[in-house]
Amino acid sequence: MSSLSKMFGRKDRAEIGPLEYHRRIWLRVTVALTLIFLYMPILTLMAFSFNDSKRNIVWRGFTFKYYEKAINNSELIEAFLNSLTIAFVSTIASVILGALTAYVLWRFRFPFRAVYEGTMALPVVIPEICMGVALMVFFLRTGFNTGGWVWPFNLSAITIAHIAFSFPFAAIVIRARLESFNTELSESAKDLGASEFQVFKDIIVPHMKPGLIAGALLAFTLSLDDFVITFFTSGPGTLTFPVKIYSMVRFSVTPEVNAASTVLIVITVIITALALRLQNRNNMMQAG
């Protein structure tokens, strides 16, 4: 029967097999709903960034005008550059700190190691609002007022705050990666004459690499879109992109806000894609 239908180039509508979930209606509905809930708002936001209307409620025609307007909004551009700078610095610091923390926790046994591991990961679960208030009070009480410093040093307080909440994420990801390390690899390197540092550099860091990339990606996106903690730790003149957009939205949701947000989304997607590609190539190299 099937050979006959093949001969006539007709797809055989056979019964749905036990593992052919993709042909079941409930799975298709679930997938469709998930995608709609996740991406409809984002797609709408992107579409309306091209809307030729000030109120931005009904579609009135296509235009690039609001991108132009966003680019010419010097405050917005400054906030954007601030955000990128903070994200860049805090990502590098978070990955280094996270990698070292993960390595210490994985490699050495010492008293209160479990306690250290727990407290290190605490910022992951502490509500952001608490972190924000705590950091604000901390910077006030210590007199660490960076608001008046020259760019980019006026961003120090925010950057420190970002490192504080994003490095535990990096540490957790890298620590998980280290669990799959075969200790015979490091012993073998040592046996061949490598010092402890050479073992770390030549054998352990290459193994950590996918974790480093994933950790960096996490830290970067966490920093780039953080609002709550930044709001509390930013002084006047140190606006970041999310905080700036918030202040713009308070007046009205113009397509300019949509345009700026679209740019942010595109940047995030590109960076994620690049990181995933890097990681994939790494995994393929390490497979088998």
């Binding site: 015979e184 690899l185 040592k190 046996d191 061949l192 050479q198 030549d202 088998g288």
Partner: protein, 366 residues
């Protein structure tokens, strides 16, 4: 460095070495051993007997709780693993997954700061030695298990160590490849002339490769001897039982003068045998020393007993006959299938005589 040791001194000297884990786990218990220069030495024992711990103490990954390890005349007490004149082939091969074969093999030389030109020449030479010539640019995941092991071998040998340590190197290979690698390792050892110390739980592997074997049990060395000596003259029931197959009978021995003892081990008839162990003893004989016949053997110098064939296991070249004689376990006799189509010539339920020469009988104190 001390003055170089004379070349006839043992290359490894393990003296009264004990390793205690936690508070009371004696992984290695007061072991003393010497390994001669250029020897192929095997540490053999069941899992958990301490053989790997002993090897790791030679490599420098474990520190003895007590005792000294001397390699090539130098006390290793304060020498870190990366400064020892030994190299190791790990059980998992531990080939670095992010480096090419050539980078793997050359890693030790690179660490030592050898010039790049010399490294590539020596890597090529080492790869030729393990028959991996031309595969230097491959990544480890493009190699088979056997090839990866050769990479590990080349990587360890390229530094020309005084001693090469091998931790269960063949356990991950399939039977055919394992046999080929056994011969290969022996050939390699003769070619490079480096002392090999191998850890294995496979007695056939140890017997076929090693010049000398140390049999370990529960952290203690039971016997150190050549393969033939171990097989034919085990000094304890454990060694006799662990190496190859053996028939055991519990019994008693009393002195019979002039290096002879009177042994009674039911259901065997009482015997006067060479030996000096008395009291509770264990009488033993290897299955290939046991003959089977339909009639009672005439020779009075033979130990013989009548029984019935309980089971026959056919292995092609030989058959194992299990003969029920009223002992705790049937007597195992290994019969060569010398004539085609006949097999052992016996059938289940046949009444037969099993016999062996009294010189082939082993006697262990219990």
């Amino acid at each position: 460095m001390q003055s170089p040791a004379p070349s006839d001194a043992p290359i490894i000297e393990i003296k009264d070495v004990t390793k205690i884990y936690g508070s009371d786990v004696r992984a290695v218990d007061n072991v003393s051993l010497t390994v001669d220069r250029g020897e192929f030495f095997a540490l053999l024992g069941p899992s958990g007997c301490g053989k790997t711990t002993l090897l790791r103490m030679l490599a420098g990954f474990e520190t003895p709780t007590d005792g000294t390890v001397t390699i090539d005349g130098d006390n290793m007490a304060d020498v870190q693993a990366n400064k020892r004149p030994v190299n190791m082939v790990f059980q998992s091969y531990a080939v670095f997954p992010h480096m090419t074969v050539a980078q793997n093999v050359g890693y030790g030389l690179k660490i030592d700061g050898v010039a790049r030109k010399e490294i590539s020449a020596r890597v090529e030479e080492a790869l030729e030695l393990v028959k991996l010539g031309g595969l230097g640019a491959r990544m480890p995941d493009e190699l088979s298990g056997g090839q990866r092991q050769r990479v590990a071998l080349a990587r360890a040998l390229i530094k020309r160590p005084s001693v090469l340590l091998l931790d269960e190197p063949l356990s991950a290979l399939d039977a055919k490849l394992r046999e080929a690698m056994q011969l290969e390792l022996v050939r390699l050892q003769k070619t490079v002339g480096i002392t090999f110390v191998i850890v294995t739980h496979d007695q056939a592997e140890a017997l076929s490769m090693a010049d000398r074997i140390a049999v370990m049990e529960a952290g203690v060395v039971r016997q150190v001897a050549s393969p033939a000596e171990l097989y034919e003259h085990p000094t304890s029931r454990f060694v006799g039982d662990f190496i190859g197959q053996i028939n055991l009978f519990n019994g008693n021995a009393s002195p019979a003068g002039e290096g002879k003892v009177n042994v009674s081990a039911a259901p065997l008839s009482d015997q006067v045998l060479d030996g000096n162990v008395t009291g509770s003893v264990c009488l033993a004989v290897r299955p290939e020393k046991v003959s089977v016949s339909r009639d009672k053997p005439a020779d009075n110098n033979l130990l013989s007993i009548q029984g019935t064939v309980a089971d026959i296991a056919y292995y092609g070249g030989y058959s194992n006959l299990y003969v029920e004689v009223g002992a705790a376990t049937p007597i195992l006799a290994e019969i060569t299938n010398a004539e085609r189509g006949v097999g052992s010539g016996y059938a289940q339920g046949d009444t037969v005589w099993v016999s062996w020469r009294s010189e082939d009988t082993l006697l262990f104190a219990e």
